[in-house]
Every structure is written in C-alpha cells, then in structure tokens.
Subunit: 318 residues, 4 copies
Amino acid sequence: MQVTCVTSRRETGKSLTEYWGFAPLPYELELSSPEPSAIAEEAEVAFLCVPHGTAQEMAKELVSRGLKVIDLSADFRLADPSVYEAWYGVSHRFPELLREAVYGLSEIYAERISKSRLIANPGCYPTAALLPLVPLLNRKLIEPRDILIDAKSGVSGAGRKAEVALAFCEVNEDFRAYKVASHRHTPEIEAELSRAAGGEVKVLFTPHLTPMERGIFATIYVHPLASEKEIYEALRDFYAEKPFVEVLSPGRIPRVAEVRGTNRCRIGLKLDPRTGRLILLSVIDNLVKGASGQAIQNMNLMMGWPEDLGLPKSPVFP
Amino acid sequence: MQVTCVTSRRETGKSLTEYWGFAPLPYELELSSPEPSAIAEEAEVAFLCVPHGTAQEMAKELVSRGLKVIDLSADFRLADPSVYEAWYGVSHRFPELLREAVYGLSEIYAERISKSRLIANPGCYPTAALLPLVPLLNRKLIEPRDILIDAKSGVSGAGRKAEVALAFCEVNEDFRAYKVASHRHTPEIEAELSRAAGGEVKVLFTPHLTPMERGIFATIYVHPLASEKEIYEALRDFYAEKPFVEVLSPGRIPRVAEVRGTNRCRIGLKLDPRTGRLILLSVIDNLVKGASGQAIQNMNLMMGWPEDLGLPKSPVFP
Amino acid sequence: MQVTCVTSRRETGKSLTEYWGFAPLPYELELSSPEPSAIAEEAEVAFLCVPHGTAQEMAKELVSRGLKVIDLSADFRLADPSVYEAWYGVSHRFPELLREAVYGLSEIYAERISKSRLIANPGCYPTAALLPLVPLLNRKLIEPRDILIDAKSGVSGAGRKAEVALAFCEVNEDFRAYKVASHRHTPEIEAELSRAAGGEVKVLFTPHLTPMERGIFATIYVHPLASEKEIYEALRDFYAEKPFVEVLSPGRIPRVAEVRGTNRCRIGLKLDPRTGRLILLSVIDNLVKGASGQAIQNMNLMMGWPEDLGLPKSPVFP
Amino acid sequence: MQVTCVTSRRETGKSLTEYWGFAPLPYELELSSPEPSAIAEEAEVAFLCVPHGTAQEMAKELVSRGLKVIDLSADFRLADPSVYEAWYGVSHRFPELLREAVYGLSEIYAERISKSRLIANPGCYPTAALLPLVPLLNRKLIEPRDILIDAKSGVSGAGRKAEVALAFCEVNEDFRAYKVASHRHTPEIEAELSRAAGGEVKVLFTPHLTPMERGIFATIYVHPLASEKEIYEALRDFYAEKPFVEVLSPGRIPRVAEVRGTNRCRIGLKLDPRTGRLILLSVIDNLVKGASGQAIQNMNLMMGWPEDLGLPKSPVFP
C-alpha cells in the first residue's frame, strides 16, 4: 500500500515531517489542498477526515470518480436524513448515496463492507458500545429498553486543536462529563441498536473526559434475558473468528492499557445478582479501533486483503 | 487545635518529617505505637485511620476513656451488624457502641453529630453519592428503585502502598473498573438511601480508577418524580445554608478540578428528555470531603466550633 | 486584606466565578478594564500581571498615584535599560523609576523591599536559581565562572492559553527543552549573580518542559571554593531565620512534590568528588514562590506585616 | 523469528498472557524457570534480563553451549573488572569472557557486534549520552574534559516493581533527581568516552525522574573545538547511513514524543555564543533504543539480518 496524497486546507504546502516534527511514513509527502480530481488520479481508496457537511461533497465526487471511500465523518452514519439533520443541523444533499453507504463496524458488517464503495466509519464511542451490544440485542439476550452507556474517553478524541479546555493544566488531574444527554454519537448508537433489535431502541449515553491520551472505557448497564454464562458464551462464540474482538470470561475486567495502540476491542461482563443488572465493559483505543485502525480494517475488507493487514494486536505497554 | 499524638505501628519512632519528607505540621511529632491510654492522656479527639476490625477495639477503648472518636474505617458505618459481617468478614464485637455511633455525613446529620461521641466517618464514594441522593429520596423527588452509580476515583483512594497495580506505569494512561458489583461501599450507600427513602433501596455501584491523584466524579442515574426545575430547587434549597455543598443550575457540569484540595461537593443535574432519566453529577476531593476534611468538619461540629474551621474552600487550580 | 479590583482586558464584565468556574474569593468580583485612576481609588497595593511594556506604563501611573506596586512582568527586573531592550525588544521609558525599583527576591532584599514602593517580582526560574547561588557567590564559596543551570518546569509556567503546544496530548508523555541558550530569564539571573559576586557573571541556562502542572526543579553545576560541609553550613546559616527556604543536609535530594502549593524553596547539595563539581538542587512551586506567593510575601514585607501571612507552608501531597 | 522460551523465577508456571493480562505474542508461552540446558536446546539467541552477577553465570553457560547471547545487565559492559567490582560490589568471575564481549552500541560497534557471540547491551542513559558524544570525541571536535550530562528519564526505567517510590501518587506531579553523582551508568559512559577520546574522560552525570512512562532526554554540556556548523555536519555525516539516528539541524530541539515507541535516537545541538558552550540534546525511548529495541538491533547484526528488522521507526503519537 502506498499513501499518494495527504490533504489539509490549513497546512497546505507543509511536508508531513514538518507538520508532525517526525516522519510518519518512510517517504516524504507534501500536504496539498483537497482536489477530488487530483486525488482520483493518484488513489484507489480515499479516507475522509473532513468536517461533516464537507464530507458529503467530497464523498460524492470521489465515489463518482470510481474511488472506494471511507468517510470518518458522521455524514453517512445515520440512515435517516432527518435524524442527521436534527443532530447535525445540516441537510443531507445526497440521500441516494446515503442509502448506499455501509456502516463500517467491521465485525458486524464485514460482508456488506467488502462489497461497498462507500463506508461510514463509526464514531469512537459507538464502536466501543456497539460491539458488545449488537450481538446480544440481535439474539434477544438482553432487553432493548433501559440501556445505559457511561463512557470515558482519553483526550485525543477531541483532535489536535488550540483550545484552553484541552490544555494540559485543564485536563490533567481533572475528570468531567460533557455533552450530557446531548452527544451526537447518541443517534448513531441508537440507529444501530434499533437495527439489531428489530425495533426502536433508545439509550442514555454519557461521555466523560479522563486525563489520558488514548482509550475509551465504556461501562454499559443492561437488563439480561439469559444467564451470565449464556450471555458470555453467545458473545464469545459470535467473536470467535474475529481477530480484533476478545471476550473475557465473566468477572474479568478489561483495562484500556491492554488495547493501547492496537485495533482491538476487549469486552468483559458481570452480572450483579443483587440488582439483576448485567454490566458490560468494553475498551478500545479511540484512535485505532475507534477511528483510523477500523478505517484500515474496512479498507482491507473492501480490497479483499487479510482483515488484519498492517494492524497491531499487541499493546504499547507501558 | 493541637495535634498531640500520631501513631503508626509500622513506622514507630520516625518523625513525621522523616516519614513524609516534609513537615506537615508547624511542630515536630514522632510516630508512636497506638496506645489508647497514652492517647487518652494527651487528646480530646481521636481520628482512627486503622483497618476495620482494629478500629472497633480502639474506638471502644478511647470512647470509654472519654474521648470523642471519629473513625475513618468502616466499623461503625453499617447499623446492621449482620450486613457488616457479610461484607467485611468480621463480626462486630460492640453492637451497643455501634447503635450509638452517628454516620458522619456532615450536611445530613449535623444535629446528631454535634451530640455524639463516636462518628463513623463516611467512605469517599458514599459521600459523593449520598449528598445528591439523600435529600431527593427523602423528599420523594426520585424513585427509590433502579439507582445506578457510576463513579470514577483518583488513585490516592487506594492509600500509600507498595503495589504493582498502583505503580505509575500501570495507572497512567490506563482506565479500568474494579470490584464491579462487589465494592464494600455498596451496603454503606444502600443503608443510608434506605433510611432516607424509608424503605429498602438497592443500588448498582461501579467504581473505576482514573489516572489522577485526587478526586471522585460520580455519575448517578435515577428516575425523577418531579421536573428538572423542581429537583434543582429542592437540592439548592436543601444546601442553601451549607458552606461546602454547591448545587449548580441544571445543565452545568461540575469538574473534579473545581474541588481539588477543598472540602466541597459540587452537584450538577440534567434531565434527559429522550429517556426520562435524570443524571446527577457529583464531585468531591476524595482525600478532603471524602475523608480527612469531612472528619475535621465532624470534629468542628462535635466541638461546637464553626463548621468550616480550617477547611479550604478555594481549589488548588491548576 | 481585601481584594478590591481584578482587571482583564479580554474578559471584562465576567465575574471571577464565571471566568474560573469556581469562586476563588469568599466574595464576588467582576473583572474590569484596567483603569489606573479607578484602581488607585480602591487599592493601596497593586499586583501587575500584564505584558512587559504595558507594565511600565501601569506602574508609572499607579506609583505616581501613591500605590505600592508589585510588578510580575520583567519591566523592572533588569537594572540596565540596554540589557532590557536587547532581550525584550522594547525600550524602557521610565529609567528613573527603574532605578528606584527593588528586585523582589524576598529573602535577599527583605530590607530594601520593606522600604520600596515598586517591586520587580522575580521570574520563576530566577527565583529557583538565585536562592542557592546568591549567598554562595556573595561569600565567595563558589567560583563565579562556569555556572550551569539546567532547569525543569511544569506546564503552568506558560500561562492559560489556547495553544496546540500546550495541549494535553502534546505535553503529556513528552519532555523537551525550549529556548535553549536564549531564554529571557538568563539576563535576570546574570544581573543578580553579578551583583552578588561583585563582578560580571555569565551563566548557561537551559529550561525544559516536564509533564506536570506545577513546580520547578533546578539542577545547578558550580565549581566549589570550599568543602561541601562549609558550603552547606553557610547556606543553612544564611537561611536559618527565613521561613520559606530550607537547606537539606548534603546528599539529601529535594522533590517538587515537597513544595507543591507552598511558598517554599528547598535546596539540596552534593559534591561530586570525582569531578570536583558541586551540584545544587533547588525546588519551588512556580506559581507560588515562583510568582504570586512571592508577590504576597513582598506585599507583607512592604506593609510591615508578618512575612508569612497567608502563605502556605505544608504541601498539597498528594 | 520465533520466541521459544521465556523464563522467570518468580512467575514460573504462569502463561505470558496471564502475567501481562494480554497476549504479547501471537502464540502462547509459559514462563519457565531459567535452565541453560533447556534454553540451549530450543534457542539460537538468548536475551538476558537478569540481575548483575547472575547474568555472568548464565552468559557463561549459554555461550559455552553455542548460543549467541545479548546481555541486558551490566555484567559485560565494563572492560575493566576492577571498575565493575568498585561500582557493583561483585567480582567478575569470567574475565576472559568479559574480554571477548562487545559493547552493543549498535551504531558505533556494528562491525564487531556482527562477529561476536556475546553482546553487552548498553544501559539506557549511556545510549542516550554516547550516541552524540562518541563521534565528536573521536574526531576531536569537543574537549574531553568538563562533560556534563543532565538526563531525565521516564518511570519505566525502574522496572515493574511493588515500591512506594514508584507509585502513581508519588511520581505524578513530581520531579526529582536521584543517585546524584553516584549512578552506576557513570563508569559505563566514561569507559566508552575514554575509548573514543583515546584517554581518560570523566563525566558528571545526573539522572532525574520525570512523570512520564517512557523516554530519556539527555542535555549534555561540552566545550566545542569546532564551529556549530562543523560539529553538526560531522554528526550528520557520521549517522547518514544509520537508520535509527537522526541529527537535527542546529537549533532544532528534539522531543521525547517524537521517538516514543521507536528504536530511534534524535540528536539536536546548539552553540551558546555567550558562554562558548555547546549543548547537545538527545532523546530515545528508554524501553526500545535504550533496552530491548537495541537488543533486537544487535541480534539483527549478529544474525546478518537487516539491521532494522522488526523495529518501529514511526512514533506512537499521541
């Protein structure tokens, strides 16, 4: 695989090495202004990391020029354009393309991803939440009501920005919730859970910011419809052949450190016999399985390459 | 106030300055072996920071020698000795003293604390969870069922120990849950909520470890029985005269950094209209309001001194 | 003491609580635009935390209106206006006022500070470097040549700014030097060392950024002219009566954690018999003894109050 | 390459996955007790990560059984057994083997490493200090006197141990020097510098602990014997063909974050015209180029494989 083109409106003209301070690739590239025609000439696959709204336009142009497109924005994640509009304040200009797009949760939609030319790469929180929930809802092993997702993210989820709120002295030795009951990943989670459950599912999703660079830890509370053992075995069997999802035996608790730098998701579970609730615990590296790693996994699927090509499985520890 | 005696079995003979590397007091003290008779000679108030089981014995001896005792262990927190025994694996040898002890959640039991000679200083997680919940349950503004407490703590909650699991390279850049559905603060929280609700309350409580030194952030999910505004006003009014509890207007989210180094608890709340759930957010400094600060507040109440004597209100920021 | 007026051009109109998210004072204040006449009406002492260049003007106006002024900028730190101009690129408009200003290194200039109406509050790095060096140079116990200061600072030294370089994900898990051989605190250190030595002293000063919020650790390499013991005793005796400077016995190494949140400076020293060099180790909290704490200490001296009024001596640990 | 055997006296019987909590290899291995005969049967190359003293014995046995040995202890780093004895308090039992061992600073001794059967893998601090210094001393571009190394390390350098001093709450938000003028890497650095200079070189080396997991930043002060440009070009040319050492143009300052997770060393330099000193800045990841990465690089050289086989060059950032 060859990276032929990296674009940035703001940093046009800089080399990758200049921008990062180190060489992220074994060869040098200059950041160029995003021109679909130029991209189309040089590339077979395009990864879109542009704001929502803009991604629609780029995707439309690149797909029509024959590229496979993996969009990391939210533009093609929500099948219902009115939900998209309600949460993002932008109307969807390409509903046909939207219908064609496949939600890129690799383990769930591998088959469809492999045949698609436009992938909506999932958000980081949805990835962490959906991997444990989708198979359980699908098999009716948990109730589709009262699902509560309390998720904690490292700071890199916010991107590389000049903002006081992201400064070391604001984030370090702090912990906070944010966008309580209003985070845009909510409808994305609900859309996929509804599809899995075959009926409308509502979730309560609370994101938090924790003083670490990478990682998401999702603590998910559900009502079980089967025993802890049955639920464990169902999850374990569902992911048995999947290289990046590990299901831990009941009571074992995953740690973010165990997936740092990898494309893995680790899932733990425990029944609370006192309240009858099942607690699902899910960890990913938000920058890998939660973003660019899953994007590469999707490219691998689209290109018919081994699913785990170029994707690390052993964590950077410590 | 004068500190007359500091004990430590393991570090007997060391000076405080030697042990800490700095002088925590304006005068020097030598760590001595804990001898109730010697303590009783020199002190009016004793703070017990010894393991559960041991605390019972010490409390008994010191109270009978006329001291006011503030016990930071769990030995007098659970009114029902059988619950204590079930969770701590130790039987209670002084049920009479247990009946006499007052649970030291200062804002809730100020009246009783001021008349007591034995205070069970609350755990850190219970303090963070109970301050928002008790007044609401008491006023029947939330349902007593389905209460979910997802709490995140800094590392200092584990104490100063030589343990691989507490090492910098294990904790930093990690996030994990621990003691899922089995933490000993669960019965303590339930006991107090049951008392407030006037009936049995069960909670699901999940503690997590976050890479910061101090602080607890509790995200609490409840079913409201009144509007967001009514609940906010009830909490605000309840704490209006309390120097250390602040209730933020609906939608404002507290941060751990805002209470670091203080004896404060800050409470936020938000209704999720989509699911009908109310989210309560509560932050404290686990070492101050969650431990020694509340202990001093209780001493102030017991001694008839101003409640906030010697207790910081402005955070160490950054 | 009463804070009567807090100014901010950028945040005019906000309350202190709004700006910080918490109440830093027991009463509320609104940030106002800096107007010398308004300030003069309400205050006896003014602390200037404005950019260099601007501070000159403000100081001139406030002093002429009868206020005692403590300037935290660099405008009055360098007695020689040409050195100021060379390093700061601004000319000094008030050379007379500059001659009158006293360098606010409290332990060294207490006498003069107490009689002054304009204090140039020292920089954070100079404070950490000068406290061990000035008495030794003054007593000719170390050579005035080949002084090397390798200093490490927490991130708060950079202020509260929206900058990518200060973002959590840039600073955490990183360590870097900056402004190598070109930091503006160099002439400030040299000016004071030259005064102490009675002749020109040049130093090599290298600042570094370390992933913590507060604190400076200065490792200083000098050629000793006396034994380790003599140097230790000289320092110890010099600071014997000073409440905020502690000299550790030879070989004991200070830690930043021991002074966090305090106005203290701790000094360690060790002779390397193999190379004959003496290593001086000095730690301060850059926000307290390195900035606002020393400013308050200077106010105390100017007002004839106890030097340590309102200044913490016990660290926030952990 | 296949890992055939991993030993641990303390953890014998545990699987690697059990010990780490994750699978560091694509296949499972059980930790076994170190038995040279068993190791010799299964392996061609052995990496020794055992205490000094023990390493001697293991190396002797394994080499005599025909294995190539890469020793990560200090046992074969110091050519002079009396220096070894003086600093490590252990006598060297195999002086002949010691004479044969090659110091594994890959870029400097590649030729000899490729022909050796016993490599003394360098310490982390020596690697960071020697890479910039050795070529300059060798070409007489800096003076062999008055070399000062002020180095800062992440916490992982101390290993995975249950120690209060390594606990999160001790290390985080702290900065300290340790083993001032007495660290055992001093004679190792001196031995190699003396060899490069063709005469005895003494250095003053001060290690510090900084609150990050990985990385070493070495600030090195020397007297230059040529211009900044000449020194830069000499270093740049020396490392021109070396895949893991980068020399930055004068004035550019390397960051630890730029080498995190890689086997790289980045070197910066700057002349201070005011004092005439040259400042060399060197960064490595202490766990990779400073330990296991360099060990693998040495194995590659010994086996005649490409030097950079299996070794990452792009940092984990953030």
